[in-house]
Amino acid sequence: MTNEVRDVVIVGSGPAGLTAAIYTARANLHPLVIEGAPSSTSDQPGGQLMLTTDVENYPGFVDGILGPDLMGRFRFQAERFGAEFLTTKADRVDLSERPFRVWAPDPSTGLETEFRAHALIVSTGARSLMLGLESERRLIGYGVSTCATCDGFFFRGQSIAVVGGGDSAMEEAIFLTKFAESVVVIHRRKELRASKIMQDRAFKNPKIRFLWDTVVTDVIGDSKVEGIRLRNVMTDEETDLPVTGLFVAIGHAPNTDLFAGQLDMDETGYILTGDGTRTNVEGVFACGDAQDHVYRQAITAAGSGCMAAIDAERWLEARDEAPPDLRETTTEW
């Protein structure tokens, strides 16, 4: 597999990458999807939806569908048309010449392996941000959780906190009320940025209360979470809140470190695209949350994945039709 130059390699396997895989596979481009490695954060095969429960706004699923089930369906559909998958995480790329090169540990041997592609589709998505506290890192798995759907169960009858004010925070808070006795949502502003429907549900939930204008400055506990230290940003007053669990949903950062210095990005690391999904490197296309900090929906990611597939297909076709003297120098020796 290593010596063959693929038409298309797709890095990342959320809704964007898998939709690009479906389209390029159906176009007989035999895509290879480097889908990522298992993790308990959103940086994993299937992406952020793997850590969610009900997806209620993906068109066609009238009664909603579980996030992991939806991604399972995307993946089966791509496989059905011949997409190949590698369960490993790309750790290096060279986009300075074509064919492009991507390196990743071989999933069975762990040995660094090189993959080459004429066209590259970047769909590495975004990951959840953490607070960045030493105590938070130390207590992951001991009350600090990166996965409400995995760990909510352990907080039955307990008092817990969710940090954040967006849709993810509301979804987690509402989900966690199935188990917890009470859920405190801690938000650094006076109003939520979550969608209206999620806000309404959270406000109506009798187990949820809100602490506004408040940030978490420390997680208290030696071997497990016993509480959190809070600071009111208006008054600077510090208080301790006894909770046994802390769920962090304060926003996202794009998984684009891999491409730093090679693809143009904005100051927060989102890949810049223009004229569809084109990046500054000809033959490299970007889709999904790696280049979108505005919409960040499963359906918009899938839509941009489709665009990247079509852009890549047309680019490959145009390149093949170009007269020989205009074609790039072949490196297939």
Binding site: P38, S40, Q44, G67, K89, G141, C150, F153, F154
Partner: protein, 109 residues
């Protein structure tokens, strides 16, 4: 889940863990946990690659809440490696095969 996979319960836990000649890697998991499902085949592979060196055992936390509490499991997947009946290593959260092997290597000799 492979056939013949060791399923741990309140009844057989001490016997299986204490009585094992090889290290036992206990996988605390649940049906509703996505990352747990993702590492299950990885664990099967690791066991297959190291015949006679390591046993994988499953512990369903929904059914065995007492055992989860006994080992302070508050997040799944959690993997605990028992050697000579003692917990020697704890891995929290799903990880890829390479990372898991790195952590398990000292116990696979």
């Amino acid at each position: 889940m492979g056939a013949g996979m060791l399923m741990l319960t309140e009844q057989n836990f001490d016997e299986e863990i204490k009585g094992s000649d090889v290290p036992v890697l206990v996988d605390f998991w649940a049906e509703w946990c996505g990352p747990c499902k993702m590492i299950a085949p990885v664990l099967d592979e690791i066991a297959k690659d190291h015949p006679g060196k390591l046993r994988i055992a499953k512990l369903n936390i929904d059914e065995q809440l007492e055992l989860s509490r006994r080992f302070d499991v508050m997040s799944i997947p959690t993997l605990i490696l028992f050697k000579d009946g003692e917990a020697q290593l704890r891995i929290i959260g799903a990880k890829g095969k390479g990372q898991l092997l790195q952590e398990l290597r000292p116990f696979l000799a």
